[in-house]
Symmetry: D2
């Protein structure tokens, strides 16, 4: 892997070696915070930042994200994780414990438009997006040179309506082989099959080139031009099997005016798409997102 990144990465892992994150989602009831904070305290953990939110609408759900420092976390981690299951059972928790020093492993899928891939590589090179990128997969050759110049393996897997099953079985094999945690669809212009999507719940991050739910589906910039909107946008969301209907992670917009023809909207849109996708990916990498129903809690 890229040598600049390797150095940054080693420094980061060392600096964060005692840092952990605990994310919980469960039915709300009094006493959860007391129990969880007492549990962490037993291990000598100091809570650095915590965000908690409960909804008393629609049945009462409880969400918390805790970031903590714990001496010798590397050694204690397994024990903290195993014993927490008892607490979790008491409160019917959906939960995960993450070592900050354990970088997530990401596969980027891309087609011919490369601006989102370039943004991700740029942020990654700057050390502003901490993850490992074991591979990039594409149905075209366009990204090959760019990807390989970053010392990242590039897999060209042509995908069409006809060979979708076969292509996806190659994808799945690679995802398994490289132990991938997150899939980023950086303007990957192919529909994924329900099987593929179901196998990666809340793990596939897409960028849609409109301000959802406006302009669901194809050609959003053309339709924005026709409608004469004064603002265009982009939306990053987790992929589900309802097209452009998955839980929204982040959205942003930019002003346009009467002088902007479709090509100008696309150019401006590229800027929005790449910054929105980058933010969504960062929040995912920092374990800031809890999916609840078809929505996200972003702490």
């Amino acid at each position: 892997m890229n040598s600049v990144f390797n150095l940054q990465s080693a420094q980061y892992k060392d600096k964060q070696k005692n840092r952990g994150r605990l994310l919980i989602n469960c039915p709300d009831q009094p006493g959860i915070v007391a129990t969880v904070s007492k549990y962490l305290f037993q291990y000598g953990a100091n809570i650095i930042e915590s965000n908690q939110y409960s909804t008393n609408h629609e049945g009462g759900s409880f969400f918390i994200r805790i970031e903590f420092e714990c001496p010798n976390l590397q050694e204690k981690y397994k024990e903290i994780e195993q014993n927490f299951q008892v607490v979790a059972n008491d409160f019917s928790m959906d939960w995960r414990l993450q070592l900050v020093s354990r970088l997530k492993r990401t596969a980027i899928f891309v087609s011919k438009e490369l601006h989102c891939l370039r943004e991700i590589l740029l942020e990654w090179q700057n050390g502003d997006m901490m993850m490992e990128i074991p591979l990039v997969i594409s149905n075209h050759e366009a990204a090959k040179e760019l990807v390989e110049s970053h010392k990242i393996p590039f897999y060209h897997i042509p995908a069409t309506k006809e060979n979708r099953q076969e292509a996806e079985s190659q994808h799945l094999k690679l995802l398994e082989e490289f132990e991938i945690d997150v899939i980023i669809l950086a303007r990957y212009m192919q529909i994924l099959t329900p099987n593929f999507v179901s196998a990666q719940p809340n793990k596939i991050i897409n960028i849609h080139h409109s301000f959802l739910p406006a302009f669901v589906g194809a050609r959003p910039y053309d339709r924005a031009y026709e409608r004469g909107v004064k603002i265009i946008g982009a939306t990053s969301h987790y992929v589900t099997n309802d097209l452009d209907e998955g839980p929204i992670i982040e959205q942003d917009i930019r002003r346009v005016d009467h002088r902007d023809h479709v090509e100008d909207l696309k150019r401006t849109g590229r800027s929005i798409e790449r910054s929105v996708l980058a933010r969504a990916v960062k929040w995912h990498l920092e374990d800031r997102i809890i999916v609840h129903g078809n929505k996200t809690v972003v702490f």
Copy 2:
């Protein structure tokens, strides 16, 4: 009318007495700017600001807005206007000449939610929205005290599905009597009839409480909440007979997050609605808008 406003208004009219605006929309061809600028030059007019835009997409349309100073404009105005018709005919122009010192006369329509009305009165009182407000019309009594405390006549005209025709004939009579130039629907929650709308082309400004074309129609904040969007918006547009489909003048947005329930979206939305409507009204008052098909050119 309000005494503070009267003073500001008199000063403004005096300061702007030689200021005029010319707006033109016609098929594009070489020589239009040359001809028009020569025409104004003959009368001693000095162009202060001009914005021009042509589209070579879709047939080629030409748009220009010229703001000029002309000595003794009050006396010359009629002549400039009459003689320009010759130029206009040569180029098949759709055009208008406006005296800046002649304030537009505005009727505000309102129902029970008063935040947009309050914003307009606030800006008007500050001297930041130059217009006359000869009357406010409402289908409820809620705004009566507020409006009358500003020394503006208030007309309570109940409007329901059943009496729509009758109510609108009262509206039309008032609009004529008070020589109204612009109608502002400041959250007026009644459908207008096609006849009424057709009689006021590009004169009725509405505020819709969503980021169009997302959430066309009723209950946009409830639907935004259900979808889990991260940004909500508002849209000001000219009213046509297609619901929420008229030419968009201005849109804006604000960030929301998982903590915001429907009531919070509405509260945040009120802030967006009033600032978007205020900007759209100002641009209309400053003759910055040319409607072209179902879009606006905002100079």
Copy 3:
């Protein structure tokens, strides 16, 4: 007081009768969250939202804001507050417990420019800014009619360099008499004496008409014009005895361009000033702000 507001206020107080807020600032150490959450749990309180943040820079400070629902809070409140002092002592806490149903009592100070006062009254009338306004104080008569039309007592206290001491003793008497919790300087163009300021720590909210620390002091719009900036801003901060140097609560900006002369910057600025001040006041009313050194933590 205003009758519309009275009705909203009664409904709000009833809805929020079991809602409390606990704010804490103390030296960081493990176990604080565990202790505090256990304490609240003993009283049957359910934490609705909590935000916590610790800094391991500069010595380690711990900040938390907890919003909770507790059955029969009105009756238990005193006891919860008294007994918490034991916990507080253990951790050297700077803390406060607030009943959400107990509206803060606000005095607004204003001079001749009324846009910020109008914004506050607008939000208050909409029910979007929950507080009581027992009085408005001004060194001019300009706001008298506006204030009294809202059924709020208006006190005209002329203030000049010469009579500053005398004017302030009148101010202090009124603040005491009306049991004022918060002072909003809504473009009050008088310097306050060190004594006055010291007596109201973190209780006086000011709006400065620039993007601090740019253009500290007088005539910021003129200086922004001269410098040719492309964005202007406003800053709301707590008043300290260093002019324009108090802890910043909120800032915002808007784009301007070469066409904007000083008067236009002022007009645009008025919009920014009023929305920034309104947000800062709302956050203060919602007990979202903890002052730490010369900075704010805004949860």
Copy 4:
């Protein structure tokens, strides 16, 4: 040069072959628009977009930017330019005529922080920033691999206080040899000498990592952190011999909060810096900027 860019570039040049831009700055007087538009009309030019602005403050200056299509512009260009001098003399014009198809030649200066360079290369690769980049100059080796992977010559010229004169004479030689039109300081952390700056009036574009005039000079993020600002920014400006005081082209900001330590401000700042610099460079390339005194008119 880069092959992807070469193709885009060839297509662009062909598409824009008849497109020209005329920029004028002169004392205001009636008749300028009439004269200039008549002049262009004589050559069969059709004005596509024009923006004009006059100031009657401070003596009266006139500014216009005209973009036009003219059949066979390549052949007529020289003649249009030569003959326009007569018109220009009559009105004491400061003016320039530009062929859109003639791409500007840019030298990028960079030190060790590469995010701004990466952004420019990204936009350039996307075809969203039309220019030629004959070389990149740096006082460090850090950018060498990145630059050369884009097939752009890289010149490593160490620069210190001691060898400044010598380094700059090498710079000047390269600028001349490569016929450079624009210099982009993409976080180039060296002071330029007055001689160097004076030789490149309004040709050197810098990015400063603060919202000027806040935090002029060194360590702006540290100082922003200390002051507790809620928004940080970046400013792109033309370089003059007053440090950070040159004409501002573009500024932008992003929200930060109490959780952001200096490192976080820098990370967020990198995003702002690169987008602000990219916009400023694009506007320069599109001939949208006229410098007037110490300000810019950006059309």
